[in-house]
Symmetry: C2
Subunit: 381 residues, 2 copies
Amino acid sequence: MKDVSIIGVGIHKFGRFDDEPYTKLGLDATQMALRDAKIEWKDIQIAFVGCMYLPATSGVRTLTQLGKTGIPISDVESACATGGTSLGMAAMAVGSGRYDFALALGMEKMPRGFMDPTQLYEDWQIKTGLSQNPMYWALTARRHMAEYGTTIEQLAKVAYKNHKNSVHNPNAMYQKEFSMEEILTSRLVNDPITLLMICAPNEGAAAAVLCPTEIARRYTSQPIRLAACVQTVAQYAADFRVPAKSISARVSPPPVTKFTADKAYAEASLGPKDIDVVEVQDTDAFCEIAAYENLGFCETGEGGRLIDEGVTEIGGRIPVNTSGGLISKGEPIGASHMGQIYHIVKQLRGEAGALQVAKAKVGLAHVLGAGGNCGVTILTR
Amino acid sequence: MKDVSIIGVGIHKFGRFDDEPYTKLGLDATQMALRDAKIEWKDIQIAFVGCMYLPATSGVRTLTQLGKTGIPISDVESACATGGTSLGMAAMAVGSGRYDFALALGMEKMPRGFMDPTQLYEDWQIKTGLSQNPMYWALTARRHMAEYGTTIEQLAKVAYKNHKNSVHNPNAMYQKEFSMEEILTSRLVNDPITLLMICAPNEGAAAAVLCPTEIARRYTSQPIRLAACVQTVAQYAADFRVPAKSISARVSPPPVTKFTADKAYAEASLGPKDIDVVEVQDTDAFCEIAAYENLGFCETGEGGRLIDEGVTEIGGRIPVNTSGGLISKGEPIGASHMGQIYHIVKQLRGEAGALQVAKAKVGLAHVLGAGGNCGVTILTR
């Protein structure tokens, strides 16, 4: 495989845009990425469009508005990890040598209100009441609290950090700081998770232009190298688990985030200690704590300590979700990972403004969702 | 890119299977392909699952039933050309050198009754009444008849040939021969297309296992080489057009089937004269006549003559839709192209039974659908 780099990124703010069709969201992100890459739409040779709740051929109907250039345009989907797939396929298209310029676009308009669990969950999950994410993850949070002493205040601190970061991210949905008390006393969704600790399904888009690293400097002075882009599916039935102290790690496969991250670290020849800035799947505040552990930033059970010590704040040793995370940005599923990529690219270029992590050279983005779909991307400058 | 071959194929009969979930259809086709390739599920390193009407993460929920091996499994979609994308992505995964064994699976369960046109068509198409395929294609058929003297009997002959072939294809939905009179007098769908001239949306699955050509003979004595696998999107607004005598071919881009086929022929270093057996998108009988012309088997306007002269029958110079085509098999969208691939592989191996085309060495499969999505695959033995 050829080495692949990102030469342009674009985004449409995440939020709710009743008057804008999904095509508008996708086009805005794509045109911004093309301008950033200093190439034109006619230069793109293949496109992968991640979306989950949009109608068939959404990618074609969006991108052909820029010109009917005849290139293959495919919709792809892997639940919350969809963006890993669109980016991974675009990277493979360029890496294979078959295409020089590929577009990875993620875009989404999600339905409001109750989501039909039969669309995403297995029969046993529905029958046991574990058919909506908040229920599932609340249980895993409670288990972690019981096993390792993680506290509800630590969960709230994750939400506090992310909401605080989002104030400086114009592409986040909320952009509002909340006090610890506001977070802790906001409406209970599923004990112990409150409304301000959980992400909202919403709308948005983000895109990246990829080309072989060997020609990337013709287009930008700051190409961002795709050091690893790994997608996997969990090796166990439930999407999320808490490794219990009482159960030997040897009796079952690793959590899918650890499994995926280990592959990505190997591919990039890097380890957790080399990572300068991180975006993770904080579907709720506990998910971020679990990600700290499974991405190798601390030992199992020590995620709560990391947030207490400020390690994952901007200025800390491993700033996590400097964009504000899904908790403040919302999660437009198809666009989620590409939105993380947009933000990490900005960080590695030194263009993250008030959110900038000093001297960031290596970034990691992580997504995880229904079906156990997981993606970990490592970017370097 | 490495050279890529198919070492195993599998299929679940196309039809309507109220008692079988889509996962069963997909698993049956996959297990048959794995047995055919003489490898096990744990050997597969990446999978692309084409589907259009199934819920999110259908591929994961189907294939992980064979074992949670942790490999990436992505749903992909390009309307009626979906199978081209799943096969093309699997080919790129192997061709890039990143994976040795890839699975391309197509599976579908389509809704019955009226399909919501807003899901697939542009506003102007709905407003002009061109919002369902039969309406669209009936107009193109009528235009071809006016321009080139194509007759309704020639359309009926296409349906006659395909239904007749299907009697020997156990995987076709109808498997029933109809007389010319039955076809011509069956219920009119959209003038001039009658019910027995048009395909039915239905259910089914088909799969292929791919590996580098350099190791393919370890698994099968008859690997089938993927000489070309090209996907494109039409360069004009409407999906289907009839090149009018009165308009110079130079004023507009070629029909998307010609555009795609020319790329595939170039990639395979082969031409229309080299093709021994063909499967095309016969959504209705006229579509097959248009395909004859756009795939280069005759000049524009001469498609009707080809069917009159028996050129595309088994025993003719270029047998087309020896499987019975979509007209008799039905069109489970996600599975459609992979079903064609299954049948072409059988032909090239000499395993097509009563439908066998003598000495078939080169096969071509073609799909075309909403959004102008098109795929042409060329296989050689």
